[in-house]
């Protein structure tokens, strides 16, 4: 525990130092440039081959986002019906090997064969920030928001913890904490179940011209953030350079997180531990595509109504003759 505290204290200090350095360096200029108004979303590029799995990003994320973490009221309201699960992570805040309401980023481990040698690859995992995020678009209360810079985030003041965002997320990213949020003031036993939580790409830091904590703290520069066109150009150049593979560009119709790996993603997906709080790396079809296609077809609905009415008018006028 002592070593953990000192590690966190060290990281806190590191972030402060990094922030001070950033203020007078090219990092600050880069951070400022990413906040400039642009019609293009911001995208992060994650070069898996650079990641050493040190987890500094994980602790930096926890450190800077601590004020956003839920502080549930206990005992929890008795839930009705009894099948409604109580999900309590408030006593397990130190868990870092999966996504939780208190851990929005974790490192996944894959063991793969590279040039005949078994190699461990480490992969930072968090919300992909989809270009057309089902979690945001399908939330029935508007509790999730998508900023015009492409990030999506959950408004804890509005979220009722119904977990629909997790169900519709192709990677099941959001995690629930029971016992906090607006549902406590409505019908806590009958509707809602807390708050959902996930990476918000440090929206408040971006607003101030700072980089997300995980990017700023990384000693290996695993992540790069920038305008979509620039990042995609970089990602494809990296793929060509390293004979690598790309993930996130087409998944779920496109995301604002691009991974580049030295091995195919189906190999990585086979090797990583998957399950609750541990997302896969499978190919993902565009989950919103059917809805989008029908929405476009809806433009025909008034025309169909007009045609039917004129058809009826024409037929009855023929009958009258």
């Amino acid at each position: 525990m002592t070593s953990r505290i000192s590690r966190r204290a060290f990281l806190k200090g590191s972030i402060t130092v990094a922030g001070s350095v950033a203020a007078t360096s090219s990092v600050a200029r880069a951070a400022k440039s990413i906040t400039k108004k642009s019609s293009e979303p911001l995208v992060t590029l994650i070069d898996i081959s650079k990641c050493i799995g040190c987890e500094e990003c994980v602790y930096a994320c926890q450190e800077v986002n601590e004020p956003k973490f839920p502080e549930p009221e206990k005992p929890f309201p008795k839930m009705f019906p009894s099948r409604v699960p109580v999900q309590d992570w408030s006593d397990k805040r130190d868990v870092t090997d999966r996504l939780t309401p208190y851990n929005w980023l974790f490192i996944q481990h894959a063991f793969v064969d590279i040039d005949g040698e078994e190699t461990e690859l480490t992969i930072p995992r968090r919300c992909m920030h989809c270009a057309n995020p089902p979690c945001v678009k399908l939330c029935p209360w508007g509790a999730l928001k998508q900023e015009d810079n492409g990030l999506s985030r959950i408004d804890s003041d509005l979220c009722l913890g119904g977990s629909k965002c997790k169900s519709v997320c192709p990677w099941n990213i959001p995690e629930r904490q029971t016992g906090s949020g607006m549902y406590l003031n409505i019908l806590p036993s009958l509707a809602g179940n807390g708050n959902m939580h996930k990476c918000d790409r440090c929206y408040n830091r971006l607003e101030k011209g700072e980089q997300p904590a995980c990017i700023e703290i990384c000693p290996e520069d695993v992540q790069t953030i920038g305008l979509k066109s620039e990042i995609l150009k970089k990602a494809h150049a990296l793929v060509r350079e390293t004979n690598g593979y790309i993930y996130g560009e087409l998944e779920n119709g496109g995301t604002n997180t691009i991974y580049v790996s030295p091995v195919p993603f189906d190999q990585l997906n086979k090797s990583i531990e998957k399950g609750k709080g541990k997302p896969h790396l499978k190919k993902v079809e565009n989950m919103m595509a059917n809805g989008t296609n029908i929405a476009k077809a809806m433009l025909i609905a008034p025309i169909a109504g007009i045609a039917a009415a004129f058809g009826k008018f024409y037929l009855s006028s023929q009958e009258d003759k």
Partner: protein, 146 residues
Amino acid sequence: MKTTGKLRKYIYGITFFFLVLTGFGQMPVYKRYYISDIPGLEWLSQFYITHVMHYIASFVLIALVVYVFISFIFRGSGKITGSGYLKIFILAGLIVSGSLLVIRNLPGVFLGHNLIIVLDLTHLALCMMLMAVSFYTLITKKTWVK
């Protein structure tokens, strides 16, 4: 003519039923309250299915509303009742708020957060109002047009 009126009534009734059913399916309630455990109703807890079905039923409703509106103008007779006006007003609100939510769901569309919350709540409130008014007109046998 009578058959067309009956058919129109059935189409409206079935569409309204599916819109309410799939509309409530946008909230995570069917699984929580065991409704999707009923054999044949498992799909009610599949959010992507209820979402698409809600869109399809909306397509039918919009086409039907336009058809009825133009037919009424062509016919040139009949007087809309008070409850008829109320239902038309609510339906118009549902179609406008629903259409804006459909636009919001398109890729690359960013509506203001407050506007989205207002649209979500308005859509739900109007649906409840239409259900209540429709129930009242059904039991009191009040028609749309005199």
